[in-house]
Subunit: 138 residues, 2 copies
């Protein structure tokens, strides 16, 4: 087993009530490159990436009320930080290490294809200091 | 003015109710290097760093009830993501750009020395998509 499963910080996701406004705000305030919005119906979100030197900020807006992030936005109407995503070299080994350490994996224990086209899984925030952590196969 | 003020993601800060337990949890679950705890009385926090390949996770615990993070922990008793810190090449130019774009800077507009011994300032979360953003002189 790889002792060090934590690779790069891939992105930090922020849920926002108005994606176009949020993208314009980040662009104006930071001067960073901001990608064109993409709709990802299979994830229930519309997304824009703000590009920093060593990682990305992912701005997310729910596509509709059935979106997995709709409840978060209802609790945080101004928006807020939603999750951190780390790259890992071996997603299955990381998953097994987490389960062995007592952490719960959200949903089924099988990785799904995430917003970047790579396998991902999420750790239960109550088992990771109140923070939703996504792991993505590097 | 530097058009691109956003440099590296320096760290993501997570406030936790029990720093030693949180540090042990991150170490056990991710295998990452975790620093020894440091108390920073001038910031009212005790801190540990979890080292990822390209940045850090900063775990923060209030030193006492007068800590700037005590209210956050009262609202989020399990802990949660508190802020993102970016490096910037020119903190004063970044501050002026932010103010010109309509963003509020927390406290006085003069940078203070942050937890890493470098000048920092914070953008009001309501002016940055609900997210507390720290800028640190690189």
């Amino acid at each position: 087993m790889n002792e060090m499963m934590l690779g790069r910080i891939n992105h930090i996701a922020i849920v926002v009530p108005d994606l176009d406004g949020a993208a314009a705000q980040w662009q104006a305030r930071t001067g960073a490159e901001v990608s064109a919005p993409q709709s990802l119906p299979e994830h229930g979100v519309r997304v824009v990436f703000v590009v920093a030197e060593n990682g990305k900020i992912e701005l997310l807006e729910p596509l509709d009320d059935s979106s997995p992030i709709a409840a978060f936005l209802a609790r945080n109407p101004d928006g807020g930080m939603h999750h951190i995503c780390f790259d890992v070299d071996d997603l299955y080994a990381s998953r097994d290490r987490l389960i062995d350490s007592g952490a719960r994996i959200l949903g089924s224990h099988e990785p799904k294809i995430g917003a970047h086209g790579k396998p991902v899984l999420f750790i239960h925030p109550k088992d990771m200091t109140g923070t939703l952590v996504e792991l993505q196969q590097a």
